[in-house]
């Protein structure tokens, strides 16, 4: 990955994930420092399916931003999660299918996303 620049046709997407990867770096460096650690072994990231992020591109971007960081040697785990809808009619919570806003239990369209539209650093594993 040394000195590798993203392919031109790729740039639009990778740049998006690159700016998110920079946020990951800030979050991890900050947490490591607060916990007095100089080495992070593992970074666990969760990406909701209902976001504009490609996990492949994020993985690639993480390789770029981990250089010279506290997590340079860390294993990066990126997990994609399903979108969960909650229904205002039947109060049920179901998994969103085919990106359609519809309750999987009663079929009502009066639903809202409760999770799966965000991305976050879930946890890290550090050396003390």
């Amino acid at each position: 990955m040394q000195g590798y620049l993203p392919d031109r046709q790729f740039t639009g997407f990778t740049m998006h994930e690159l700016s998110l990867a920079m946020s990951v770096r800030e979050i991890v460096e900050d947490a490591a420092e607060k916990n007095g650690s100089k080495k992070v072994n593992e970074v666990n990231i969760i990406v909701g399916e209902f976001s504009s992020v490609s996990t492949d591109a994020l993985e690639f971007a993480m390789e770029v931003v981990k250089r010279d960081s506290v997590f340079e040697k860390a294993k990066i785990n990126i997990k994609s999660t399903k979108t969960i809808l909650s229904c205002r009619q039947c109060r049920g919570e179901t998994v969103m299918e085919d990106y359609i806003f519809k309750c999987g239990a009663c079929g009502s369209t009066s639903v809202q996303i409760v999770s799966g539209d965000r991305m976050y650093v879930d946890s890290i594993d550090i050396e003390k």
């Binding site: 997407f13 072994n41 992020v53 990106y99 806003f101 991305m119 946890s123 594993d125 050396e127």
Partner: protein, 231 residues
């Protein structure tokens, strides 16, 4: 080995900045629009169609987001609109931090409505709240009626969907029924307006929609600062 739970949102920083922008805009009673579309859907043409009329009554400012160049800003400057160009340099979307920096170039006491023309892209801008009151999404009939299914996140976040280039619909195979159905599966509440920016069709409707937003903002200065952005 030491395991630490963080649950830190990657967009937290952006959302905090955007919330600051929103409350600053609320204090100045400035109605803020974030306009998004694919490249070539007609965002700038739409602005050229509505701004001459709107700027007779209101003080409008525009922030233009483009990867490179100032072609769009130049077009609007010809209409005597107070315009600031942001070049994102290969970054595919605008972020709140860029808006915050751009706002330094405006006198907020002299603006009624701020229009942010986002980078032409249907993917990335959807994730970044910029402090807007309303998201307007522009789609043109030449892009095809299956756009909502291809870009669900963006469609789910729009407050108003402007279907542009209606004047050429006969030359395309765009099926409005399918389009409306797909939009409704993602977004029950967004208004949909069929317009032609270049022919002027239904532009008056769009102008009055924006006008209503500006008036509403003037009248409801301290209405909630909540994040309408997150469903």
């Amino acid at each position: 080995m030491h395991y630490i739970e963080l649950e830190k949102d990657l967009l937290d920083q952006n959302d905090k900045l955007a919330a600051n922008i929103k409350s600053n805009m609320d204090d100045h009673q400035i109605f803020v629009l974030n306009i998004m579309s694919a490249p070539g859907a007609g965002k700038t043409s739409l602005l050229e169609a509505v701004l001459p009329e709107l700027s007779k009554k209101y003080r409008i400012a525009v922030i233009e987001g483009d990867i490179q160049g100032s072609a769009d800003a130049d077009r609007l400057s010809k209409l005597n609109i107070n315009t600031y160009q942001i070049n994102t340099h290969s970054l595919c979307h605008l972020e709140a931090a860029m808006i915050e920096r751009a706002l330094v170039n405006f006198d907020l006491h002299k603006i009624d409505c701020l229009i942010i023309e986002n980078v032409g892209n249907l993917v990335c801008p959807a994730d970044f709240f910029l402090g807007e009151d309303e998201v307007i999404m522009v789609v043109s009939v030449s892009e095809g009626h299956d756009k909502p299914h291809k870009y669900p996140v963006m469609f789910s976040k729009a407050d108003l969907i402007v279907l542009n280039k209606m004047d050429i619909i006969e030359s395309t195979n765009f099926d409005t029924d399918i389009f409306y159905r797909q939009v409704r599966e993602l977004n029950r509440d967004a208004g949909i307006m069929e317009v032609s920016a270049t022919k002027g069709t239904n532009i008056a409707k769009l102008i009055s929609h924006i006008e209503h937003g500006i008036q509403h903002k003037k009248g409801h200065h301290h209405h909630d600062h909540g994040d309408h952005h997150h469903h």
